[in-house]
Symmetry: C2
Subunit: 213 residues, 2 copies
DNA sequence: GTACCGTCCTTTACAGCGTAAAGACCGACG
DNA sequence: CGTCGGTCTTTACGCTGTAAAGGACGGTAC
């Protein structure tokens, strides 16, 4: 069970800690990430982690910052294409680490990787002819859309909710006629919510053009 | 300290529990909402709450559902105006209860108030000429934007971050030239991030028109 | 009246959490 | 060899959600 990592004295580094903490959260959610469980995974007592990380808050800060390293930076001549690819990548990363979006809310001091990422995007937009304010707006609006969409995706239950089941079994039995219409005519007609992401993204990207000088 | 609520036998109701739990979370964040603290506020032992609520998860479900009661329903002939007012209200409600957006992520079964709200919005859009699918898209896209924007607002620190302070004291001292430009030419030029909400909202609302039959 | 019962609340207890404090080990240096 | 500094372990405290059991009350039945 302890193969794969040495676990002995001197084997602990901040890098290894962040790596295993990420894996732990990916597998069991933020709730599974306790200092004791993390220590167990590292082949060490929980308290040992405190010699490399100030406290759990600092560890979560580091986890959040690392996430931004995975998001593809925008590139290419066409700003619309470049931004689109970045947003698509951002969504995939946030889905791969479902705990990340919950951390963004509580982390008020962005780390160096996050700042570097944002700096790059702003610079990319400035190079495409956006003013400083417009660049900041575009980044904020796109991130808002991506964050919010992923938030809704994560809240989607794996199994159909009682309401959805009720609609399928006895249509007209709920007090929500319009939701019923959406379920039967959209959801059950083969439209996947995940596919709507790019529809909204393209509409928003089109709208962003109005902010360019 | 115990004035204002009876606190005796039979004084506990689900309504009172949800009400005080909301107040507790509003004042001290989700972390301040423990069953013992809630009981204390209700003039009762923590375990007494369990006779009216299955467990803490169910309580959080109820809290989340109640939030949707506060969001103004869209009304009026012009769908754009109606939706705009709803989104503005939604943002204010989410800012008033900063814990709510963090709960949305983990609650996978929407409550009756939430469903009723969504049903109303879908019906409103259908009445304005949107197809079932388009209505669902508009609702999802607008909510995504509002959720994501509030998420970013909540992550804004009260005090300026080290980076912002560094830029103000010694411009050019950070490795983030484009962020520096945004700070000096946008943030410090009087543009308030909160005011950008309606800019993006209007752009998005304009884009939603393309989804109408 | 008084015995009973069901409901509401309290008490006690347990495993887990983050982390402060202090002890134990171990390689390196004088 | 002795001692020091860093790394890890041990122990402990107050907090968490909640299972289990006990106690107190009000209403009903005799």
């Amino acid at each position: 069970m302890d193969q794969g990592h040495p676990g002995g004295r001197g084997s602990l580094t901040v890098g290894r800690i962040v790596e295993e903490a990420t894996a732990l959260a990916d597998e069991g959610g933020l709730a599974a990430l306790s200092m004791r469980a993390l220590g167990r995974r590292l082949g060490v007592e929980g308290m040992a982690v405190y010699h490399h990380v100030a406290n759990k808050e600092a560890l979560l800060d580091a986890l959040t910052d690392e996430v931004f390293r995975e998001i593809a930076l925008p590139a290419g001549e066409d700003w619309r294409t470049g931004l689109r690819a970045r947003s698509v990548s951002e969504r995939l990363v946030l889905r791969r680490h479902p705990w990340a979006i919950g951390l963004v809310e509580t982390r008020t001091a962005p780390g160096p990787t996050t700042l570097g990422h944002q700096d790059h995007v702003i610079g990319y937009l400035r190079g495409a002819g956006f003013s400083p304010r417009a660049a900041a707006q575009v980044l904020a609006f796109l991130d808002a859309y991506v964050y919010g969409f992923v938030l809704q995706e994560l809240a989607l239950p794996a199994d159909p909710t009682p309401v959805v089941r009720a609609v399928r079994e006895r249509p007209g039995s709920t007090p929500f006629p319009h939701l019923e219409a959406v379920i039967t005519e959209v959801v059950d007609a083969g439209y996947d919510f995940a596919d709507e992401f790019e529809v909204g993204l393209d509409l928003l990207l089109d709208a962003m053009g109005a902010l360019r000088g």
